[in-house]
Amino acid sequence: MSRPPLSEDLLRLLRELPDMDEELYIESMTRPLPETFRVNTLKLPEETIIGFLEERGWKVEKLPWARHGYRALRCEREDPGATLPHLLGLIYIQGPMSMVPVEALDPRPGEKVLDLCAAPGSKSTQIAQLMENKGVLVANDASSERIKPLISNLQRWGAMNCVVTLKDGRYFGKRMRETFDRVLCDVPCSSLGIVMKDWAAARNYSSGITERVRALQLSLLLSAYDASVPGGTIVYSTCTIHPLENEWVVTELLRRRDDARVLRFEPEGVRTRRPLEEWKGMRFDPEVTKCFKCYPYDNAAEGFFVALIRKGDGS
């Protein structure tokens, strides 16, 4: 396979990251993601669905880090998204590391949960599943184009406890303060952890993208934090490798909300790496080293950053 195209700014970034292996990163871009999916226990028992898949010729293996998560070693078709189990909503095709943020959020039945940037809905369906369709999940997105797939994915999944809203994510911190038990803040980012899915992200990347997006990411995280009840849980996540969209954003939250605490989160069976404490003369809060971080070549999967944050309860 030919060498994938990388912008000058991305090449510079790779060289500036002290823990980055540039060659392994580029090689990871040429490898397709493993086919992974979740089984929909809102519709049928897990073993019933696995039996249905096996009857159709699937061979599957459990993922240790995600409840109801599997890897398809063999599938009835080349495209699992065009299979009957998928179209009937018995499974949801989702990247392996993309399941990690909701596992960190750990939503419970009966709670009030907010997914701030929800489209196209893979993490919202995962949340609804762990909530066992009880309580309420507000699945929000700011894009009118992306709302339609969000609604149809929630429908296909059989999610009954959902309210879908089309709002700027900053609305919730202002108008629905201290409302939600848990908030997922899976923000728009430069997507440098999922370049194997879209080489354009690597070819078109410029440092200006990060400069623009990190201000938005911080304002969304502050909104998520303010929308959380005292003692509530907030998960901040990105699918990028850039410290200014990861460690910097969490450091700024800790600086601006002094009752915020970062909790350690280590998903089972996943190779992780220690977040940076400093980069290019910037010092990040030591708390950020508790966050989950991986590069694409760590697990032959997506690169992800996940911060599990607890809001102070006022005591």
Binding site: L87, G135, L137, M160
Partner: protein, 124 residues
Amino acid sequence: MFFEGSEGKVRASTREAYETAQRIGRVEAVGLYVLKRTKFGTYLSVEGSQLLGERLKKNVVELTAEQLERWASGEPLDLSELGFKPDGNFVVVRYGPVFAGSGKVSRDGKVHPQIPKERRVPVE
């Protein structure tokens, strides 16, 4: 809880979701689309059949694996092939524990799957 939305569509939701939607005011969707009432009858969505199918006492047809594949691709099935005489003009189909939506019975004795185009399995 169930509530009727626009175009005769009935949706299922939790009380908390319904009340939260009322509080927010302008929302895009609440809960799950379960069934639609039309002048020709009542049709269950795929999810409606999966939610309510086990409670139905009549008009539930068991398909073979091969019939399920044809059904999921949007192909109408002959009632004579199914060996089934429906009471009314709609049926729900299942393959073991897997419910796969409802269909409209036409005068020529065929059951037409009411599955949205984007959810049909493409023919290979």
